[in-house]
Symmetry: C2
Amino acid sequence: MTSRLESLREEYQALRAQDLSLDLTRGKPSAAQLDLSNALLDIDLGADYRDASGTDLRNYGGTDGVVELREIFAELLGIPVAQLLAAGNASLQLMHDTIVFALLHGLPGGEPWFGQDVAFLCPAPGYDRHFALTQALGIRMIAVPYLADGSLDLAAIEKHLADPAVRGMWLVPMYANPTGSTVDEATARALVAMPAAARDFRIFWDNAYAVHHLSDDEPAPLDILGFAEEAGNPDRVFVFASTSKITQAGSGVSFFGSSPANVAWHKKHTSVQTIGPDKLSHLRHARFFGDAEGVRAHMRKHRELVAPKFAIVDRILTERLSGHATWTKPSGGYFVTLVAPARTASRAVELAKSIGVAITPAGAAFPYGDDPHDSVIRIAPTMPTEAELEAAIEALCVCVLLAEAELEASGR
Amino acid sequence: MTSRLESLREEYQALRAQDLSLDLTRGKPSAAQLDLSNALLDIDLGADYRDASGTDLRNYGGTDGVVELREIFAELLGIPVAQLLAAGNASLQLMHDTIVFALLHGLPGGEPWFGQDVAFLCPAPGYDRHFALTQALGIRMIAVPYLADGSLDLAAIEKHLADPAVRGMWLVPMYANPTGSTVDEATARALVAMPAAARDFRIFWDNAYAVHHLSDDEPAPLDILGFAEEAGNPDRVFVFASTSKITQAGSGVSFFGSSPANVAWHKKHTSVQTIGPDKLSHLRHARFFGDAEGVRAHMRKHRELVAPKFAIVDRILTERLSGHATWTKPSGGYFVTLVAPARTASRAVELAKSIGVAITPAGAAFPYGDDPHDSVIRIAPTMPTEAELEAAIEALCVCVLLAEAELEASGR
C-alpha cells in the first residue's frame, strides 16, 4: 500500500512541477459558446424598435415583457404565454424577489413569512446559489439526499411536507446542477399531488437547463403547471428559466411562469418595483432566435462544443477512477458530479488547489456547505478548452487517488 | 358671475365638440427625444465586447458594473468611482431593493425594519412612485409640505427626526418631480448634519434629473456624500440615478452611490440576488457617451426639444390663468406643478378627462393620494407634440377656470 501511496505522491509532485493554472469551478459558457450568439451584439434595432403591436419598445412600460419573446419560450417551456413573464437578465433575481415577496407580503391568501420558522427542502447535492440565497434570506434549509439511483426521495419529501414550517422546495427538474438528473413525469405528478401541511407550500422549479440537451434525445419539459392543476394544487409551482446559458450569460433574459393567481400576485408586487424590464434586450433575443425552432437549432450548436468536453471527463474518469469512485453521465446541462471515496473530497480539492487546479469547494453543493460523506466533487467542464480540461481532470484524478491512499495509509 | 360661468361652459362644450384625445400624464420622453439615442441601437459590439481591463463582458460576473460607464457617471454625479455601482435598467428597483434589504436585514449595525413602526418623510408634492413603493412595503409616510417659496421645511424635518420611527426621507434634489425645485448647498448641509433619533436614518437622494437642465445654467450636483462625511454622518445618504431619461427610458442603466460602508452593505445583499448586471448594456452606454462631456452634449439636444414645450406651458398658463393660479417655472427636469384654486384640482382633472384630456389624478403627487388643498395638478409636457401640448394646456386652463367658477357659483 505504501508503494502505491508513494507512486501517487511522485505523480502529484510531477504535476506540481508543471505549474498548472486550471479552473473547473465555474458553470460558465466558454468563449466559443458565447461566440455562437455574437449576432446578438450586431442586431441593428434602429430601423425597427417596435413590437408586433406597434409599441415603441424604447420607452417605459410593458411590465410583462415583449410578447414575441414570451411566445418563443412559452412553446419551449410548455407554459401558456399569458402565464409566462419575461424579466431582467438574471433568473436568480426573480427567485430572490419571489421569496422576498413571500417574506414581506405572504403568498396569495397567506401571511408574510418574515419572523416565522420557514423551511425549504433542498434536494442535495444541489445548486449552491439556491442555498446561499435561502440562507441569506433567513430560511432554514432541510437537505433531502437523492436516492442511490439518482432519483428524488419522494417518501422523505412527503414526510417533511407534514411539517407546516416547510413552505418551499428547490428543484432543478432537468439536468440538475450538479447531478444532471432529470425528474420524470411520475415523480413530477407525485410532487404536485402530495399533501402539504402548509397551504402556501411552493416548488421553486428552476428549469435552467430545459433546452440544454447533450444527446439526440431532446425531451420537452414536463407540463408541470398542468399536472399541478390536474392534481388540485394549481398554485403549487413557480417556474423559472433564462437564456443565460443560451446566449450571453451576463446579458440574457429571465422568465417566470406560474398559475394565473401566482402570476397576478407576482405582477402586483413587481409593479411597485419597476416600470418594466429592458424590452430592447427582449427584442434583440426575439429577433436573434426567430422562433422556438431557432432556439433548438442554436442549442445543437452548443451541444457540438460541449458534448466532447463531457466525453473527455467521462473517458478520463473511467481510465483513472474506475473502482475508486462513481460519477454521473448526464445527457444535458452543465455539470458532472464525481462521488469520490468517503472522507476524501475536501482533501482532494485541497491537493488540487495546491498544484494550481481550482475545483469548487467540497460541500458547496450542500445546504450549509455540509456534505455528510465528504465525497461529492462538482466538475464544470464547459469553460476550459479541451486541452485544459484534459489536464485538469487528469490532475483531479491523481488528487482523488492520492487523498484515498493517504486516508488508507493513515488507518483512520 | 353667472355670465362668466356660462361663457366658460360654452368654451368647454366647444372643446368637447373637438373630440380631443390628449395626454399630459406621463413623464416620458417623446419619440423625438428617444431618437437622439438611436445610435445606441446600432452599436456593433461584435468586434469588441471587452472592457478596458480585457474582461469578456458577455459572460457572468462583474457585480459592480462596467467601470468605463461608472467613471462617466462618477464625474457627472460627483461621486468617487469606487462608491458608485452601475446596475439594471431601473433605479426604482434599486430603491425598492435597498428598502427591502433594510426591512429584512437591517442597515449596518441596525435591526431589520420589518415589524417595526418605520416612517419615511415625504416632501410633498413628490414622486408618486416613491410613495407607492413606500406604502406597498408597509412603511408609514409623513408628508412634509414644501414652504411657500418652494424650499424644504427644515424646521419641520428636524422636528420629525426626533422621532426614532423616522428612518428614511425621500428627496429628489434637482428639478424635483413635480415641483422642479432644487436643493441648495445650505439646505443639503443642514439635512446631513441635523440630529436624528434613529441611528440608521437615511436620505434617499434620488438624483433622477441631475443632468436634465433647461437653461444655460448647468449646476453640478452637490457633493452630498462629502457633506455627509464632513458633518460626521457619512452613512446618511443613498444616492440613486439612472440614464432612463437620458437614453432609452426602458433600457437604460441605474446607479447606486453611497459611503463605503453602505456600498459594502448593498453589495453583500445584492451578491445573493444576482450574478451581475447586464454589462453589455453598460458597455453600449459607455461607447455611446464616450465621456462625461458626451453626456452633457447629449442633454443639450434634449433641452432643444424639451425647453420649447416648457415655454408653451408657461405662455398659455400666463395667458389664461394669471390671477387664478400659480405654477412653477422649472429650470430643469420633467414637470410643471400647477397650483389651482383650492378645492378645484380634482374637479378640473375630471372635467378634462370628460373631454378627452388625460391629466395625472389630482392628489397623485401626495402620500396616500391626499392633497390637503385639492389644488395641485402635475403637468408632464415632454411626451406630446408641441401642437398637442398647446391644445391640452388650453383645454386644461378652461377646465381649471370652469371648476373655479362652478365652486364660486355654488357658494360653498
